[in-house]
């Protein structure tokens, strides 16, 4: 349990660093580290497939996409952020966490919990038999994403070019 708590603290610290760091590349690396910690948490909660997806896709692929975008937009990347927002963030965050701890502890005890129903079977059975429509949705979303990227990066014909 204490390892879980340490991992959760690491997740929060890396995420806060990703918000606060000025350098975009360092922020993207902190985001990848946060994904890595989240993936380890998934493994420890008994969700190895979600953990593997989180580490390989979110920590790997999305970080590469972020790096590519940062490299492609390097010359105009310096945007003056408001200093007040950066300074005020830790203060607000600690305040929010304090309120959050009190509210969540009281709220969870008052909510009538649904009965926990232990399930049987393997991950593959649940994914392919119970959540089949989700898979169809996933395929549609990937297809839509590919079409959107193609549409955004298409070359303009001379007639349409203004």
């Amino acid at each position: 349990m204490s390892v879980q708590i340490l991992l959760l603290i690491g997740l929060v610290l890396f995420s806060v660093a990703a918000v606060l760091l000025k350098d975009l590349i360092k922020a993207a690396i902190c985001l990848a580290a946060a994904s890595l910690v989240l993936g380890i948490l998934f493994f420890r909660m008994g969700a190895p497939y979600a953990g593997a997806f989180e580490i390989s896709v979110v920590a790997g692929l999305i970080t590469v996409l972020f790096m590519l975008t940062i490299a492609l937009t390097k010359t105009g990347g310096d945007v003056a952020e408001s200093k007040l927002a950066r300074v005020a963030f830790p203060l607000f965050f600690i305040l929010f966490l304090a309120v959050d701890v009190i509210v969540t502890k009281n709220l969870v005890q008052k909510i009538v919990a649904l009965p926990a129903a232990p399930e049987a079977g393997a991950f593959g059975e649940v994914l392919w038999k119970q959540r089949t429509l989700d898979l169809v949705g996933q395929v549609c979303i990937i297809f839509a994403g590919v079409l959107a990227v193609l549409a955004l990066f298409r070359k303009r014909s001379k007639d349409n070019d203004d």
Partner: protein, 102 residues
């Protein structure tokens, strides 16, 4: 059971706050998108943690995998839009997008 659930709920709410603060206060488009990513981490954490606490980890896991796939296609599309905005305005400043005239 609830005692194992509470730390995850607290951390997920904290991450949600960090992401929303980033969206409200930052001006760089890539930074804003890092905020969206942090919010999506909070969501996937809460999905898997609830499955873990309610002993329904298989369904939670398949939902988390679906969510990750959705997240990836969102990221690809949004970063393509950011690159197009950069080519158009030569800047990543969100304030320059408030002008309707390109």
């Amino acid at each position: 059971m609830t005692s194992t659930w509470v730390p995850y709920l607290i951390v997920a709410a904290g991450l949600l706050f960090a992401g929303i603060y980033c969206l409200l206060a930052m001006r760089n488009l890539i930074k804003l998108f890092i905020g969206v990513e942090i919010i999506s981490k909070a969501v996937s954490l809460i999905i898997v943690a609830t499955g873990f606490a309610k002993k329904n980890i298989l369904v939670a896991q398949s939902l988390a995998v679906t969510f990750i796939v959705v997240e990836v296609s969102l990221v690809a599309t949004a970063l393509a839009i950011i690159i197009n905005i950069y080519r158009h305005t030569k800047s990543l400043d969100i304030r320059k997008l408030s002008r309707l005239k390109g």
